[in-house]
Symmetry: C2
Subunit: 133 residues, 2 copies
Amino acid sequence: MSESWLDEIKWTDDGLVPAIAQEEVSGKVMMFAWMNRDSLAETIATGRAVYWSRSRQKLWRKGEASGHEQRVKAVRLDCDADVILLEIEQCGGIACHTGRKSCFYRTFKDGEWVETEPVIKDPAEIYAGSKGK
Amino acid sequence: MSESWLDEIKWTDDGLVPAIAQEEVSGKVMMFAWMNRDSLAETIATGRAVYWSRSRQKLWRKGEASGHEQRVKAVRLDCDADVILLEIEQCGGIACHTGRKSCFYRTFKDGEWVETEPVIKDPAEIYAGSKGK
């Protein structure tokens, strides 16, 4: 497969592009992460979301530790060709390493950030016997 | 109002934070942009989305040229405190400077990016007599 579709993306100087993951069925924005060429190419090839972990400097196959893989239903690109939107099916219904459905679980109310989503599963249980998210 | 809620955000070295705007009523992801402290503070204070234009290096009051303002219904923060999610009402139903509803109007299909959203209004008409988006 030609990689011209990868060349159309405006990568950062570090070779990355921001990626938003949205749950297809609910429309819920689940998480935000970064991708490099390899992670996006693997995402397209396998249909599973693969990000680039900036902290660990390696490919991050979402769910490899937690089992909470993301099956990719659609991959979209924005007008400036510098942001990716994934529409996904979230295995286990949990995207966040805190055990919540979405990473965006805090809401601004009266001058502070308030937790507005419950922990569905204890992270200690999610990551029993493994490392990373 | 105390600004401790601003201090809780992990700003980039450039003093920015990524921001995702989602249409509250439809769940549609409309656009992605960046914010600095001033833009987020003004967003909270006024209830209108204000971003930081990296290309113009100035506050970008969304809709100031197009009239397509965004009324902010909720402001959320992710688990790492380094990404903002805005739930908005999109004035005019158009977020993208190309005249489409969402900036994410291209979808990956069979090895290429395909336009999958219509232009609702000609940009020449949107920006008649003004500059910028």
